[in-house]
Subunit: 458 residues, 2 copies
Amino acid sequence: MTAPARPGGGTRLLIGNDLTEEARNGDGWVRWGVQRLLWFARDGDVVVLPVDPDPDFLRHATALTGTDCATLRVVVPPPGPPGSEPGLLTADRLAHEGFRTALRRALGGRAVRRVVALWPDVTVAELARSLEAEHALPGHAFLRQGGGLLVNSKAVFRAVAAGAGVPLPPGTVCSAPQEAEDQIDEFFRAGRPVILKHEYLSSGTGNEIVSPVAGIRPIGARRVVRLTGRPAVRAHLAAHWDRLTSGGRRRLVAEEYVPDSTAHFAEFLITERGAELAGHGEMVSAPLATAEIIPSPGLTPAQRTRLVDGGRALCGPLKAMGYRGRLSADAIATPDGRILFTEYNGRVTGSTPIYGVIGEQVVGPDYARERVLLETVWPDGWHISSFRDAERRIEAAGLAYDRTTRTGVMLISAFDPRRRAVMYCVVAESLPAAREQQRRLGDVFSTRPAAPAAARHT
Amino acid sequence: MTAPARPGGGTRLLIGNDLTEEARNGDGWVRWGVQRLLWFARDGDVVVLPVDPDPDFLRHATALTGTDCATLRVVVPPPGPPGSEPGLLTADRLAHEGFRTALRRALGGRAVRRVVALWPDVTVAELARSLEAEHALPGHAFLRQGGGLLVNSKAVFRAVAAGAGVPLPPGTVCSAPQEAEDQIDEFFRAGRPVILKHEYLSSGTGNEIVSPVAGIRPIGARRVVRLTGRPAVRAHLAAHWDRLTSGGRRRLVAEEYVPDSTAHFAEFLITERGAELAGHGEMVSAPLATAEIIPSPGLTPAQRTRLVDGGRALCGPLKAMGYRGRLSADAIATPDGRILFTEYNGRVTGSTPIYGVIGEQVVGPDYARERVLLETVWPDGWHISSFRDAERRIEAAGLAYDRTTRTGVMLISAFDPRRRAVMYCVVAESLPAAREQQRRLGDVFSTRPAAPAAARHT
């Protein structure tokens, strides 16, 4: 229970926050998703979370990272008002006097050497200021003035990317339904589908595809809506504008949807010294994000270079604006081989702990050359009763991650009791080997369907 | 009526547009204000305006700039829907087929060599695209994706300025009333007034000051509201949030208001090569913008250096983001000598034609060393019946601008028949000499009030 001295003195403060707006999806995932923060915990850290951490996940993750749980101090502020999402560290919760007292007690007189937050929110900058730890939060001045919104807006992204000469799908940023109608109509007259993106919602949850033709398979969007003619487009926008733009408070991106593309990310760390490539991978959606493969397997070397060069070109303006931290540049590889950038995310993404901790730290610095990481959401139809249940059955099947072979399965998220699900990551020597492990997991967790269940699934 | 060949071939396309949102002030000024575009007209230009230009102002301005009116082609699109502001070049007006035909006729087969728009709107980028003249609009890619909003937002400004290390008044950017309440309360507890700024409205029309103490004189804001205690702040925000944020669609800046400061601008031209200082001056408000003095008279050399250095530091990120064009950096000089930046404006401002055409071109390249330009709105109580009336009486009084002495008065805007007003600019050898000319103008235009009029004014 001692707090060991850190190099350079002081301690780290980790904050498991998320954009308020994100959580409006209302599926309750945020309270489990933000616990990915625990992958970053090192001995002596003070950890702020919106909910008590899942103790099984905390034990599982720190056993893999070698962090001594007993040296961590976890502080959870009192909940927000009744009805509010418990998974969010809102401004009022972070400002709560009881929380501030508990936080000072957890710090125990140690200075804050570094603030690590999942989301670069103004509330994090405020908290750092209240602890006289502005210096410990890279890009503090920018974040304190709401800059975090700029490095996570799909609307700002398109302007900055276009300005930096980064290739984009054709399209535009719309403040009004008429602008969207004009843009959609232009694409429709060429027979092309259009993806509509809310400025902030992530993981495809704010996206939908509208198409003048049938047979479009949605990838990275909730659905495809077929519309014929300008009046139908106008009616669709009139009916859905409020939802697509949070009641007109946000802008809407309307861009050409290129079917059968694959999706990739290149993530950078922006510091005073510049932008350094931190990791890259492929994102698999069906239709929404279901898996990631790190490193990205499906690109030619020339495409990978274009992905990394484009991502780096995006970092330049963001660094000039004052942002410091992670930047994930997302792009599609189209069937005809183009690399077109689709958004950026200036935050600790879902990928960051995969490549940055599970890859770099647990598997080892050569992870991207020697291994493939396949991170997957828990499939419907795989049945578990708890985190511990999943962990035990993986161990019993001999599929758990093995430090000697540097292959096997890790559970990488807290348990979601509503969906009875947990995210997992397979480490293998190749993608086919990872798929084989995944198949064996399926054997463990798929209940052989009895007749009524089979009927239900067909 | 011939269109002379331009150096490099092709012609220039000038667009007298303004931000749609600006015009919601509803005072009708926009339809006169945008005619400042005519100062930039050169032989052979094609000029797009929302209304027919004031012929007297067109003649007056082009006589001073030496532009041959007969070589200009002015194109005015059909008006928007009934009830819309006639002074705005909205997307539908610029897309109107009849307008596009008239524009092509005015171009008469000449290529567009350069597009000059007052406001860097996405509609201008669209128009350039429709003319296959993207190359003629600097920063086209950035503007086409709505980048113009980013370089004119007071909220984005604060993040970018803080990130660039440019000094700001303490304060923050608020998305919700609670955030504003917290920030105001913090200032109020220190006895300090706060200026609230709508993200986009300009010339102080979107600003108001709230103060915990009496006796604050509003400069650069519509009014001062005295509020005592947090409940009063909360009630004020609840009552006015919609107006202050355009119904929650825009963000609100809340920053410390430093009484008795003076206001200054440094305007730059951002090109591929970098940022070049273009002009600077002092802005006089009482309470809203009434005059500008170019060059800025009230700063020490050290303060002027800080103004220019800070403005240049703002240009770096904007250039990196892809913006090309004018950037005015506005700052206050506080009574204790600090220079604190308050907003930026990425557009052709009201100052641009003053220093860039009236100064540089009409007075001469040495204007800032040898002369003072005093630009003023028409005072209440100065009576004129028309532009021509004002022009004639200035001439008759021997006060008109004289090319030999390089001193005298120019009328610099179209006539506003509603207010019976026109803006004017005095050129003089010194600020006291300019004030003396102004006093003599007052003698010409002030009607000695008869008894009933006097009663009306007290």
